[in-house]
Point group: C2
Chain length 188, copies 2
DNA sequence: CTACGTGATGACAGTGACTGACATCAGGTG
DNA sequence: CACCTGATGTCAGTCACTGTCATCACGTAG
């Protein structure tokens, strides 16, 4: 066996979600999170740049997956259709994680600091998508606008997917949300 | 004369812009800002909820002005045209403040914390505009989409207006940016 | 004129996020 | 066996932010 328990980063994220879920984000200290994960406060900050970041650990993987799917879409695919491919790829990553996502989102909407962090993550995602579209030969401002539209659909679709009564898979909800955006854009 | 120098809030904002401009946002402490304004750190936090907020003091007035202009637009005006009226009203507020705006924006884009705060201010503006449109009888999702479009035009227009070579008035730049959005949306 | 309330401020101690510097120590490598 | 490496612990320190109480010019009631 190794010197330390494995997956310190994951243990910190799990401990943070548990503790913040029990008593709220602001009422949870970094020292407490670290202690539950069997680590010290100083080690927490070696894994996460700040306290908020521990609740956004998956955003990097999400962005990478989304961008890769857009990049890997057929050359013939229109910009909005490569975004659609990205939405489908991202949906696969959330299979079986609806309850987890609900808990996490409840935390975020309840706290202004966390909402700020979420907004900048989505802005980063939008910029990365626009970049991917540009590499596919999409010109500006179409690339940025399509990227923004993709993020808007993701936001709307995600909120619907975690709604209390909702039981459909995320991929289906995303497809439907994208269709609605297309209808609105067409003046429907 | 009164017991204290007047306009403590404004003095704090001015001191903050000066000091952060000289040495950067992170290298400036709240105690230093307060001292330059002739106040104490404790008093700073009686005027601003946190350190970032001192650089966003005008955002409340901007949102109010924008929303009022939208609300006060002729009943016959289409949603996008009431937004256009808001953009014109906001432009009036920036007359003679281009250099100030350049300095402030340079600070914000240079710092991730400040960018986060700016994003949530814009999100708040978008929500307020959507609300104003709904009160004008605009249905969803048209209200939210039009509001988002309005904020997008404001962002693009503002960035153009503070660009180094730019000398036109903000009202003209905003008009032009809105026209471009309309062209893009029309598939042009 | 005096007493009292009010509101903006100062003073001070305390918490918690975050950082820098140095120590530790299992495991791999030559 | 000596040495290096990487993840961790320890500790002191800075700074954002808060709660609490004191101060004191000003206005106002009596």
């Amino acid at each position: 066996m190794s010197r330390w328990e494995p997956n310190a980063r994951g243990r910190l994220a799990e401990a943070a979600l548990e503790l913040c879920g029990e008593r709220g984000y602001e009422q949870t200290t970094v020292a407490e999170i670290a202690k539950r994960a069997g680590l010290t406060e100083r080690t927490f900050f070696r894994h996460y740049a700040d306290k908020r970041e521990v609740l956004f650990g998956g955003s990097g993987a999400l962005q990478e997956l989304f961008v890769n799917a857009v990049t890997g879409a057929p050359e013939s695919a229109a910009p909005i259709d490569s975004i659609a491919a990205g939405l489908q790829a991202v949906s696969a990553m959330f299979v079986g994680r609806r309850e987890y996502s609900r808990q996490r989102q409840a935390l975020i909407v309840a706290n202004a600091e966390l909402r700020e962090r979420e907004l900048i993550k989505l802005a980063s995602l939008s910029a990365a998508l626009a970049d991917a579209l540009r590499r596919r030969g999409v010109a500006e401002p179409a690339a940025s606008l399509t990227a923004e539209a993709g993020v808007a659909v993701f936001k709307v679709g995600f909120e619907r997917w975690i709604a209390p009564a909702e039981e459909r898979e995320m991929s289906q909800v995303m497809r439907e949300s994208l269709d609605e955006l297309k209808a609105v854009a067409a003046g429907g």
